[in-house]
């Protein structure tokens, strides 16, 4: 049996009609149900007290107790983001200037894999090497360096090292395309004009890389700001980070007004999404400049 159908091309032209938008309804409903509505309801509840509009909960959220958690989190995020940007760029440059293709690919693959490591297993691995009876701790003891009690892996400085484990590879992956965009001729031109390699880096390469470095910093900052699992596994409630505080409020370990948790959440959300939006804006701009 043969069947001949003629189809009018109208059926697959881009349109703006209602029926075409209806095809997206399941997806948009999903976004409403699990993203927008829960978020709006949290914003609303953080702004209302017994039915009237108030900023009380935000005032409480920036009292010294919670301000401390925000400052700790921002410090931790800024430190790991900064170290991640510096060392990540350095390692990325070492990777792309390696002549052996296999080594280059293997190192990029390693970054790809390890940037997704995090949470409990990573935290535990750092306890194994840098805990009070950890392997590195003992190795250093043999040569006369006593890490403990000045350093503790279960503290902010310990967390900084653990976070670098996923920050470093993320930066490497982010910056490699920008480093590959630096043309060899620019370096040669600078040298021909009498500049030293150091001057080339300071006056030519770094200004070109600057937007990529800043956008990398913002993404790394957000990455660390929202992290919870690694910190919780490593330190329990010992370290005063904002995500740890919000989680304690959710679990009901601390008895406070639920609206306070809402306000803390909304502030964290604003900080983190500002970083992500900044990152997206800068990296889109970089793409347009390159194109």
């Amino acid at each position: 049996m043969t069947r001949i159908t003629t189809i009018t091309p109208r059926a697959n032209k881009p349109t703006n009609s209602w029926s075409a938008w209806l095809g997206l309804a399941p997806f948009i409903l999903f976004g409403l149900a699990f993203e927008l509505l829960p978020l709006l309801s949290t914003i609303r509840s953080s702004l209302t007290n017994k039915g009237s509009l108030t900023l009380d909960f935000y005032r409480q959220a920036v009292e010294p107790l919670f301000l401390r958690s925000f400052i700790n989190t921002i410090q931790l995020s800024a430190t790991t983001a900064f170290l991640g940007v510096v060392f990540g760029t350095l390692v990325a440059y070492a990777i792309i200037t390696t002549r052996n293709r296999f080594v280059r690919n293997a190192l990029t693959a390693l970054s790809d894999v390890t940037t997704n490591f995090g949470g409990a297993p990573l935290a535990f691995a750092f306890i194994v090497i840098l805990g009070s009876t950890g392997i590195i701790t003992m190795l250093l003891k043999q040569i006369g360096i006593h890490l403990y009690p000045n350093f503790r892996i279960y503290s902010i400085s310990g967390l900084t090292i653990a976070y670098l484990y996923f920050q470093l590879p993320l930066m490497i992956l982010l910056i490699i395309p920008s480093l590959l965009g630096l043309k060899r001729e620019w370096h040669e031109a600078a040298l021909n004009l009498g500049a030293s390699t150091f001057q080339y880096w300071i006056r030519v390469a770094l200004p070109i890389l600057f937007p990529a470095l800043v956008s990398g910093f913002l993404l790394l900052f957000a990455n660390s700001f929202g992290a919870y699992a690694t910190a919780w596994t490593l330190t329990g409630s010992d370290v005063d980070l904002i995500t740890i505080r919000i989680a304690a409020l959710i679990r009901g370990e601390v008895q406070l007004a639920p609206e306070l948790a809402d306000a803390l959440s909304i502030i964290s959300l604003l900080i983190m999404s500002a970083c992500v939006i900044g990152y997206l804006w800068l990296s889109n701009r970089a793409k347009k400049v390159n194109a």
């Binding site: 075409a20 790809d112 535990f124 691995a125 679990r251």
Partner: protein, 269 residues
């Protein structure tokens, strides 16, 4: 020339040490009798592995993690594939809205997502609070970008419009076009997406802990419990976790490299 090589080798060696020592150390730790007084393990043993794998909860939590991962994967496939195709074909104007929904989780800390879902769904009479279903929904939000990106890239690499028209001229309906023409052509993207979602959800801790806690114990929850009780057995669990992460990541790298080639191959044909 020589000094440049030396700094490069030094930087790469330090990087490798930092990335690999924690993993190797955890692996050796899980096989050693005692390793807290001496530089090298005092002896080797399989005891911790035997002990940790013999708990009933071991297989149960692995199973739960697989259930959560596959449920999220299927949910996202059903949601993202038709939507992306429809958006590209008929409503390109909707792209900003779709991408806003997709990238939502990048800007929201996990604890905030969990809090918002709990606060909202405890107010409305839908019995999904504390139920694994809310975990799957949250994991879908979390891993949406990982499913969306590879599928959009794969769609952009093929001439979906021509393929659609060709299929229509042979009398195929919308469903047949999607399942028999478009999906086979974007398979590499779908596979990459599924693997990325799997590796995200399988290691997910924050949302699981806050949304369902001990009511639906997954592998990471089990692991954290052990880090507080028995470090030796926890090290074996951490090694399993690392191995699963390595395998999925290597499969992703393999799938993306293959995907690139296949996509160009299809376009060329």
């Amino acid at each position: 020339m020589k000094t440049r090589d030396i700094w490069r080798i030094a930087v790469i060696t330090l990087f490798l040490l930092f990335m690999i020592v924690p993993l190797i150390a955890t692996l050796i730790f899980s096989f050693s009798t005692r390793w807290d007084r001496t530089l090298w393990p005092e002896g080797l043993t399989l005891d911790w592995w035997k002990a940790v794998t013999s708990h009933k909860a071991f297989l149960l939590t692995l199973k739960n993690s697989f259930i959560a991962s596959f449920a999220t994967m299927l949910g996202l496939l059903a949601l993202v594939t038709p939507t992306t195709y429809w958006m590209k074909l008929r409503v390109p104007k909707s792209k900003p809205i779709i991408e806003l929904i997709t990238t939502f989780s990048f800007g929201v800390p996990g604890v905030v997502l969990a809090l918002a879902l709990i606060r909202f769904y405890s107010k409305i009479p839908l019995p999904i609070i504390n139920h694994p279903a809310i975990l799957v929904a949250a994991c879908m939000v979390l891993s949406l970008p990982f499913m969306y990106r590879p599928i959009v890239n794969a769609l952009e690499a093929i001439d979906f419009r021509v393929l659609t028209e060709a299929a229509q001229s042979m009398g195929a309906n919308g469903w047949a076009i999607l399942t028999r023409v478009i999906i086979p052509n974007i398979m590499p993207g779908i596979i990459s997406g599924c693997l990325l979602v799997f590796s995200t959800v399988f290691t997910e801790y924050t949302l699981t802990n806050l949304l369902v806690g001990t009511r639906f114990k997954t592998f990471p929850i089990y692991l954290v419990e052990f880090t507080r009780q028995d470090g030796r057995q926890a090290s074996a669990l951490a090694v399993i976790s690392f191995i699963i992460a390595w395998i999925t990541s290597l499969l992703i790298i393999w799938a993306t490299s293959k995907g690139g080639r296949e996509a160009t191959h299809i376009v060329g044909r």
